[in-house]
Symmetry: C2
Subunit: 773 residues, 2 copies
Amino acid sequence: MDNAVATEFNGSGSVVGERVARVDAREKVTGAAIYTTDMRLPGMLVGKILRSPLPHARITNIDVTRARRLPGVKAVITADDTPKIKFSVIPQLADKLPLAAGKIRFVGDEVAAVAAIDEDTAEEALEFIKVDYEPLPTVFDPEKAIQPDAPRIHEHLESNIARHAFIEIGDVQKGFAESDYILEERFTTQTQAHTCLETQTTIATFDSSGRLTLWSTTQVPHDMRQRISHACNLSLKNIRVIKPYMGGGFGRSCKMETVEPITVFLAQATGRPVKISLSRQDEFYGTRCRHPFIIKVKMGAKKDGTLLAKEAYVVMDNGAYNSYGPAVLSYACTWFCALYRFPNVKFDGRLVYTNKNYGGAMRGFGDVQVTFAHESMVDKIASELRMDPKELRLKNANQTGDMTANLMRITSCGLKECIEKSSEAIQWEKTRKETSKHSSRGVGMACMIYTGGASMGSGVNYSGASITLDWSGAFTLAMGASDIGQGSDTILSQIAAEALGVSIDQIRLVGTDTSITPPCAGTYGSRVTLCAGNAVLRAAKDARSKILGLASGMLDADISELELRDGKVLVKKSPSSSIDLAQVAASSYLKKNAPIVGVGYFNEPPQTKDFDPITWYALPVPCLAFAAQVVEVEVDRETGKVNILRFIAAHDAGKAINPMCCEGQIEGGVVQGIGLALTEEVKLQPDGKIMNPNLTDYTILTAMDIPPISSIIVESNEPNGPFGAKGIGEAVLIPTAPAVANAIYDAIGIRFTELPITSEKILKALKERGENR
Amino acid sequence: MDNAVATEFNGSGSVVGERVARVDAREKVTGAAIYTTDMRLPGMLVGKILRSPLPHARITNIDVTRARRLPGVKAVITADDTPKIKFSVIPQLADKLPLAAGKIRFVGDEVAAVAAIDEDTAEEALEFIKVDYEPLPTVFDPEKAIQPDAPRIHEHLESNIARHAFIEIGDVQKGFAESDYILEERFTTQTQAHTCLETQTTIATFDSSGRLTLWSTTQVPHDMRQRISHACNLSLKNIRVIKPYMGGGFGRSCKMETVEPITVFLAQATGRPVKISLSRQDEFYGTRCRHPFIIKVKMGAKKDGTLLAKEAYVVMDNGAYNSYGPAVLSYACTWFCALYRFPNVKFDGRLVYTNKNYGGAMRGFGDVQVTFAHESMVDKIASELRMDPKELRLKNANQTGDMTANLMRITSCGLKECIEKSSEAIQWEKTRKETSKHSSRGVGMACMIYTGGASMGSGVNYSGASITLDWSGAFTLAMGASDIGQGSDTILSQIAAEALGVSIDQIRLVGTDTSITPPCAGTYGSRVTLCAGNAVLRAAKDARSKILGLASGMLDADISELELRDGKVLVKKSPSSSIDLAQVAASSYLKKNAPIVGVGYFNEPPQTKDFDPITWYALPVPCLAFAAQVVEVEVDRETGKVNILRFIAAHDAGKAINPMCCEGQIEGGVVQGIGLALTEEVKLQPDGKIMNPNLTDYTILTAMDIPPISSIIVESNEPNGPFGAKGIGEAVLIPTAPAVANAIYDAIGIRFTELPITSEKILKALKERGENR
């Protein structure tokens, strides 16, 4: 890792660390920002997808003749009109076709698609497609699907187990033998939906030379380009992917899914631009969700609170296809093993196919589920030991310089400080005392570990940036990274401005268009700040050295005597001797020197021989992020409603490039985490259809429901991060659900092990305990 | 000059020199190409300009209240709503405001502008603006305007003479004294309009952060950005100029004019996107034209045909403002002095203001007018000497290695070959013999000299290019140069493909957008092939060396053992040992090397101390282009109509990168030149209004009128050109009019000295000679 990059610029502090207004703020608040959903091209058609109404069936016939005859319909396609190339996040595990051929495996599986002159015509055409199905036996419960006699979902496999990850580190049996207390519990987590404000939308158009341009709500434009090339059998060089402004991602748009290739096929079939924008209902059926987990945890500790051993037996519900499932299982294993200084660790997880909508990437993936179980168990151990759960966590907290049990080096760690600062903020001891009598009020805490800059688990972790000195003396920063609403365009502009000694309005960021921006693996794994940030810093360093080289001749001074500040190159010892960057630019353009372009690239850290591709043991991560969240709740014993009185989230961000953006991430994450804890769940009917595919029945927190949230930013100064920063985009929601569950336990003495902890469940539990009649 | 660049790549000949289909061919023939005129933005308003109906007047009052009250009108602006910053091509000579303040100087001068919801409303609003004028005495004739008592057009000047260029080289008096024959003649050329298919169109929009995006029919996007910054008093960094597909330029769009700043002012005033697309009539009044010249030429020769001395006394009609006038005068002086090996040369030219629409840049500017006079005179001398005009030209032709009289080095010269090959093609001697009896059929010839890659006359001649190796193994070529219809995107792609050893479909050209393409002075002065071509070649060289450097490690071979061919890096001695460029790209992206980006830049040649900024003596040009055109005509003595029977155009293109594109340029240029010779003229009424501001009365050649044209490409292998190439975009029309005039003389024995040589003029002349009653 090129630490020199991070340390060389200490910055004047004039831009990095400041609460700079977001670069897209004005565009967004005035409504001027153009999202993919807003776009219309001349002659553009509307695409719609026909989905299977059954959860498991053989397709015996599809008759599209009536639909094709409907006036205004320009194309009706089925699998037979496509190259039938299967895809998945991990290409070797590809099991999904853009349009189903022969068989469907969940309610929502794509069967056919139409392109028509308007939405009504397209909808009507869908009704005119006649599909004959031969129903097959179904299985929705992963524990049943795992049985040898369960209906087989993918014929080419021997069972419904898509992947099995097993690891033991240390000696778990010995660890339990040496423990004074051993506890076991079964936890379950639900299906959560991303509910982005902007639904998944794609526009595809071919030019006369057969070159495809795709506008898409994607977190990963460069990756999308490669996957479209494969799935649609198109030459990579003829594909251009553009990401306009985007209304949220949360992992939904983390890789190519079915919408994008289907849109491309329709554009090919019609020779016209085609747009597919999913309806909210379609978004529930046709985009991925958070995988539900069943987690049996066993944990052992000594009397003094030393955590000695833990094991997890996990059944993970893949749904009908792989998508991100295998990677989520690996990540679940990774973070379960890594949290706290357990010497003995075991993880035994199975990824199991069922006839349900399949899971994908979702904020904090894998870690969210196991951390709910893990942090609930730690709380339970503390109760059992009659020890303050805060103290138990502090005693076992990960520390800078540690190797985690599964061999990740912790280059910086603010976990203890997060625990301490969040406790202080809520007056932990005082509040616990007031709430310790099952007074209906309670406080709870949970911690977490996660990557602060993705990993090389998939073999790549690349980000590129280029910075050009413009004639005006301002800089153009071209980035492959995608701002999907989280604010990364602002963060990256700040990093460039700081390193180049200019104000942020001197940085013009050119957003993601695969034709004109350097490649970047994209936005996922909390990676943009660290990975793209390092690329920007390196590009800035490159540009800076070229600027100083040129200015040296103009100012007749050695490079070492120069500095870049306030849009000028100054001679340090006599700052009145200076030239504007505009002069340097003019000189570079006109006096036969090359134009000044800095290029930066990041793709780290390399995999080591210890790395295991299934359990992700020895995962190469650039850094690790930590957090502690503390919450005070009041449970209404009449209604079962949980009122969140105070929420404190302390996060190790390495260095807050923009504290306001960190707070934005934290507040958004906590809100999504509370939804996971209390209200959000995609529910199935017995026929496999979704009971609540809309925002009336699938209840996310509204602005009215959001509690007071205090953000605490801990700065651990990560040596591998740009200006010490690490990513916190997912960390922000990982400990939320267990913190809330632990607070509820503190409030009413009942430990809930199934998410979400709805009012109904609370009322039922109180009733079982004899309260409320 | 970096000759190494040109010679290092001899190329496999697989792309350069081939008749490759234009890269934009499919888009254009299918109608898919989007021009500025086609564009519509959401909420876009229509802008219209109110023009002065008088040629010279004081504005005593403008009342816009009624216009502002009209429903649908969003803004009505006059000079008082603008920063009133004067502009001109040469900033020191700025004399034009985007909207007139206090005074107007020609019919068409911009007085006010409106933005409204649609075209009808905008038109109506113009009628509601009440302007009170106090008429002033006018002058339309430059020879009258030059008189001391003429009405003064610009009060701050002492006379109507905007510039005076005088130079004498050698001893002209002595030259004439030594001559056996001395001839004198007065020639005049007319006002010619560009008549681009796409009229001048601009769209301006500001984003919420005050950043301007301008889509424009411009030949010079990067220059436009700078001029808009100045004229609109906007920070350069906040301006982005984009050039979509463009329907012709011919110099009309060579610099910022009034339309662009007015559109910007309207967008500022309304906060909405505004589009101004000139009507055809507006195009005649509101864009520039070819300057009319009065040229008195005196030429002396010895009996043996040695040309000894020449002088020109020029009165150039500037029209009401400067624009390109001073540069056109300089260029007229330059090329008059340079053609043939005259040892004694004098040029005395005055640029004179009149109350007419002002001249601007137009294809071959300055050279077209003086070459008409010059080549008519050479023909006349040949007659006088009873010498074959072809032989006279051959005897005095410029040659490689010469310095021109005015100190330009001729690094390559195909003039003799052009004369010989065009003569052969038309069977010169045989045809002359048949036509020598004033048989109504005649043949004529004319030659020319011009730059083949602009010059440093204005102090800049820069072009930049960047080439990025894409993941697919293809290349992205980002260019600041503008394809305005002439085909330069194809030429530059061919140069890149040849230098990188790939086919042309492996080059994706990103067109002109000042935010994302390297700066380029733009498209004018026949400069793109040579200047931008060299930038591309240097960028390709840079990329190639990076590719070979990386491949060297991958193939375990020294760089010197490698070559780039067919999209692969090969070990020369064992070509089976190779890697695809896609592999090199993947390695560059994933293995911690930087992405492969080649950058190239050109800004040459430097000015020397001899350079004179008025007469452009010792003009620094990268190379010179030459041509000879030969034409056979038949004059219909009944109607005066000139039928062109055969047209042969032989052009020294250095090296034809794409012979088909050269032929396209030649054919288009000859057609425009024939229009200049025979039909095209913007005519004024006595009140200063244009008599024929439309394509019915202003007669350009239609497809039906185009004669058979044979193109001959002479390859002189210019050492400073990419693969030996030079530009011919303007050369193609420069000798056309005198060649036609000389042929008419050969046909009917009458020498016409006033362009255009219309049927009416011919009939009149025949009548004066006693023919046709």
